[in-house]
């Protein structure tokens, strides 16, 4: 019997030596694995049928893994990716020692904890505490060592109140929490992680990700199997791809993931678009952008999301169907599983840029508070440009369990750009070309596990619109393009800024998509929505941010810009020119048809350091903004007609908004914004008299002419 044991699959003699080299934790040499084919019985006779069994017709053996050679060094994080059925789980099972290779050798130095199926081996009738001992025993721990980590295990699982109840009373989430907690505290040298991050609630998932980050920092060896390429990319030092049981290693993690992404491009809910240097892969609601074979998006790619009643619905969850496929375009429709909403995305590569028309097809009225597009880019991108703001991305640390907001939403800004040193990777530029006017760009750093720079275009639907009516809802048309180089981005943003900026003494005013931001040197005077206008026509409010503004032109000192809105038959025109210590704004409405206005105003939103307001007739403080405040609040109760309204604050220049005395009379009011906006507003407001409306015939009308002047006090 000894001979029988040794002749089958005689291992190469050096297998032991190879594994013995220091630093090598797992060594897999020439491993092949065949599975006996298991057929469910189609007849009552059971497996294979009696006559087959008697006839010695043995079922064929199916190769699952072939020629696998792999070593995992101590402290390394290895990712294994591949399609379903490519042998990933079998490879993990071999590492875990759950099964043996048909030929070849697997050598493991040290204790392994597999997080393959957390809580496997829990006995439902035993209490949580008893199961901790049992489960830790399965992971090779003695009772005495379990005693030492019992408290941390219970603490981490967050199940202290339930720990003495039988685990059959636990929810599946609690089960997993306890299992994960035991596994990470068993202090093994090697962790095998198989998609565990996809279970449990949000908070526990974050905790898990942080814990795995910690384990990695502690120098534990981790083997990670996942379909979430983002996590794989973020966590793993090395990635291997399994393909029909064979292993492919393209060197760097990035290269292997790239290869895999391109390769799965032929599957059904996946489409590859290519034009010139640009390639785009649409895969189950996720877009990956390649430029000259290099991926410019990080593994989480570009995706969309909708928030309904506090729940996130990511485009990755949707069931996608691709039609009208051509080499440069595709129409993707993705039905969200939990909302009566279908994403409708027309994606095309035109002129070297990726064009995305994003809309929602709403089947039944449903509540949606937020819609967004998120572009995840690799951490090589270090600089960002958003309107006339710019900055750098700070490094991402293991403490970052949630994305960090770097540049707050910028309403009206239509263009955002990220760049890397030496232009590797080349700068990316995302432009909003059309769509819902309230979409605002912001910039974020991703969390540690998903290390990425996030360019985010979010739309907070106001309460009045948050119940989407059945039909098509346009989110926006976006264009993603590769800019030639950082120098050109710098230049262009600077040119843009310069063209949109006028100077008066120490003060600058910059026009940006329907608002005018005023600075004293570097010190911002205005905030959030800045100096803007608003009018009410046909019971709809139209903010100047929502107007589609054209290019800015200059005539001497004067900055001129015109824009149109679908809500108004005609165009808006603004003229901004410097006056002494301030700026004068003219607002002109050029109507092609008659229009009835109910009200209009010109407002200046100041930073919340402003504390006092005053008109010639009344004055008062700006009270603190209550956190419950969702709406703007008028602070004056009469807001009489007056010549000006001014605001002041400690150490701040006084700001005065004054309509031209020769023009119309305005009422003056001071307001606090909603809590989220954190700004103080001084406003010149025109409300109609007895007639209740302002009828305006077709033609040219000057709605406002007035100044904002800034005066240093003391």
């Amino acid at each position: 019997m000894r001979e029988a044991g040794c002749t089958s699959g005689e291992p190469p003699q050096e297998s032991g030596n190879g594994a013995g080299s220091p630093g090598c934790v797992i060594s897999i040499q020439n491993v092949a694995k065949m599975y006996p084919q298991r057929r469910g019985s189609s007849r009552l006779l059971g497996r294979g049928g009696l006559h087959e069994w008697l006839g010695r017709r043995r079922p064929a053996r199916v190769p699952v893994l072939q020629e696998i050679n792999l070593t995992v060094r101590r402290g390394e994080t290895l990712g294994i990716i591949g399609r379903n059925g490519s042998g990933k789980s079998t490879l993990l099972k071999l590492m875990a020692g759950v099964t043996l290779p048909t030929s070849g050798a697997v050598t493991v130095r040290g204790r392994i904890a597999s997080l393959l199926e957390l809580g496997a081996g829990f006995h439902p009738m035993l209490s949580g505490r008893e199961n901790i001992y049992l489960n830790a025993g399965l992971l090779g721990m003695r009772h005495e060592s379990v005693d030492r980590v019992l408290e941390p295990i219970i603490e981490f699982s967050g199940l202290r109140e339930f720990i003495d109840q039988p685990v059959e009373t636990y929810s599946s989430g609690m089960y997993v929490r306890l299992g994960f907690s035991v596994a990470v505290h068993a202090n093994p040298e090697v962790f095998l992680v198989d998609e565990v991050l996809a279970v449990g609630d949000e908070e526990f998932q974050r905790k898990c990700r942080r814990k795995i980050g910690e384990l990695k920092e502690q120098g534990k060896t981790i083997v990670f199997v996942s379909h979430d390429l983002g996590s794989v990319h973020a966590l793993c030092d090395r990635v291997v791809l399994l393909q029909q049981g064979r292993m492919l290693d393209r060197g760097s993690a990035q290269a292997t993931i790239d290869f895999y992404l391109r390769q799965i491009g032929s599957a059904s809910a996946i489409h590859l678009l290519g034009q010139g240097d640009m390639e785009v892969i649409f895969s189950h609601g996720r877009l990956s952008l390649f430029h000259r074979q290099r991926e410019l998006t990080s593994a989480r790619g570009l995706s969309f999301l909708a928030v309904s009643l506090g729940n996130y619905h990511s485009s990755g969850e949707a069931d996608w169907e691709l039609t009208e496929k051509t080499e440069t375009s595709v129409l993707a429709r993705g039905r969200l599983p939990r909302l009566p909403i279908t994403w409708n995305c027309r994606i095309a590569l035109t002129g070297g840029a990726l064009q995305m028309d994003l809309a929602l097809e709403v089947e039944r009225a449903c509540a949606v508070q937020h819609i967004a597009l998120a572009l995840h880019a690799p951490t090589e991108y270090a600089h960002w440009y958003l309107g006339d703001r710019m900055g750098t991305f700070p490094p991402i640390s293991p403490e970052d369990t949630e994305p960090t907001l770097l540049a707050p939403p910028a309403p009206g800004v239509r263009e955002v750009c990220i760049a890397a040193p030496q232009d590797a990777p080349p700068p990316l530029q995302l432009t909003r070309e059309a769509g819902h006017p309230h979409v605002a760009f912001q910039l974020q750093n991703g969390d540690y596990a998903g290390s990425a720079r996030i360019v985010y275009a979010g739309l907070n639907l106001p309460e009045s619109e948050s119940r989407l009516a059945p039909g098509r809802f346009e989110f926006g048309r976006f264009q993603l393009a590769v800019a030639p180089g950082r120098a050109s981005v710098d230049e262009r943003f600077e040119v843009q800024r310069a063209r949109r900026r006028i100077v008066s003494g120490a003060y600058t005013a910059t026009f940006d998509g329907g608002s005018i931001a005023i600075f004293k040197g570097e010190l911002p005077i205005t905030a959030d929505v800045h100096w803007h206008t608003e009018l009410r026509a046909g019971d709809l409010w139209l903010m100047s941010h929502a107007v589609r503004w054209g290019e800015v032109t200059r005539e001497g000192d004067t900055l001129m810009v015109a824009g149109a809105s679908v809500r108004i038959p005609g165009t808006h025109e603004w003229r901004l020119r410097p006056v002494e210590n301030g700026f004068q704004l003219e607002v002109i409405l050029e109507l092609t048809a008659s229009l009835t206005l109910q009200e209009y105003n010109v407002s200046v939103a100041l930073t919340n350091a402003y504390a006092q307001w005053a008109t010639p007739r009344e004055s008062g403080p700006f009270p603190p903004i209550s956190p419950e405040s969702q709406e703007w609040v008028h602070l004056s109760d009469q807001y009489p007609e007056a010549a000006y309204i001014a605001a002041s604050g400690p150490g701040l220049p006084q700001v005065r908004l004054a309509p031209d005395p020769e023009g119309e009379c305005f009422r003056m009011s001071a307001l606090n914004t909603a809590y989220s906006q954190q700004a103080r507003v001084i406003q010149a407001l025109r409300t109609p008299g007895r007639s209740l409306v302002f009828p305006l015939p077709a033609g040219r009308h000057e709605l406002f002419r007035g100044t904002v002047t800034v005066k240093d006090e003391g």
């Binding site: 291992p11 497996r47 020692g97 035993l126 009772h143």
Partner: protein, 285 residues
């Protein structure tokens, strides 16, 4: 040195079982404890149920043989006149250990498939734990047996301690058969049903509720059948237990030598086969 080498030839070496079991001894005790805790957790009477079954059967069988067929008792010549109820209980207690252990061991690997599929450990602990936990039932059964024996006017002395070495033979038998059947069950789940039938058959074909002498001294039993009957190791073992209980002495080696040999062979065969097959159980579960 905590390295594991997963490689067909090494894992399948039969003698590795000793090292692996030594390493897994805590786990084995945990699993036994788990089975015991879980078994009577939601019962009011707890371990009472462990002895309730053999006692109930004893009462039933004693009733049948002393009231329903009273003549049958004396019908066979040469059977020693012993207390019938105690004799039945003695057979039942030790038979039930084998039946419980074997049937639990047979299904142990398949029932714990989630574990087998996910975690590496010495697979032997599963059937072993299944064989060990009925020991508690047996211990309670033996206590009840001795109490009943004394109550019926029997004698008890140090000679009873001979039950222990004899029981080791039965334990080895249960372990060996358990390992073999557990292994078979993984490949062909038909084995579980076969074991059930075999145990039912064995209940009648072993001297559980009648003395061995009924078969030995009966002229109606053909020679071939008698030889087959005696080939059953439980036949010798159950008689040997009774010898010890009633006669307080070591039974003649002729009774227990064959069972001992059988048990040893089955145990070795079981350990060898299980070791060979265990590493790839998860491929079939």
């Amino acid at each position: 040195m905590s390295g594991y080498v997963y490689e067909s030839a090494v894992q399948r070496q039969p003698w590795r079982v000793i090292r692996e079991l030594a390493r897994a001894r805590h786990l084995l005790l945990d699993l036994v404890w788990k089975d015991l805790r879980a078994r009577y957790r939601y019962t009011v009477l707890g371990f009472f149920w462990a002895v309730a079954q053999p006692v109930a059967l004893m009462v039933l069988l004693t009733f049948i043989f002393t009231v329903v067929f009273p003549g049958r008792l004396d019908a066979v010549a040469g059977a020693p006149q012993r207390d019938f109820a105690v004799m039945i209980l003695c057979g039942l207690v030790f038979w039930q250990f084998l039946a419980t252990a074997l049937s639990a061991a047979t299904r142990s690997v398949v029932d714990n498939r989630t574990l087998v599929n996910k975690v590496h450990f010495a697979r032997e602990v599963l059937p072993l734990a299944a064989v060990l936990y009925p020991l508690v039932n047996l211990a309670l059964g033996v206590v009840v047996l001795v109490v009943v024996h004394l109550a019926r006017g029997g004698e008890a002395g140090l000679g009873l301690l001979w039950l222990a070495p004899l029981f080791v033979i039965e334990l080895a038998l249960a372990t060996g058969l358990g390992l073999l059947c557990a292994c078979g069950q993984v490949y062909y789940q038909d084995v579980g049903y076969l074991v059930d039938i075999g145990l039912l058959f064995g209940f009648y074909a072993s001297p559980v509720f009648y003395p061995l002498e009924w078969i030995l001294n009966s002229g109606a039993v053909p020679e071939l059948v008698r030889a087959l009957y005696l080939a059953n190791p439980m036949a010798g073992l159950l008689s040997a237990y009774r010898e010890i209980l009633f006669a307080q002495q070591v039974p003649a080696p002729s009774i227990w030598l064959w069972p001992a040999l059988c048990s040893l062979l089955l145990l070795l065969a079981g350990l060898w086969l299980f070791r060979r097959c265990a590493p790839t159980f998860s491929d079939r579960l």
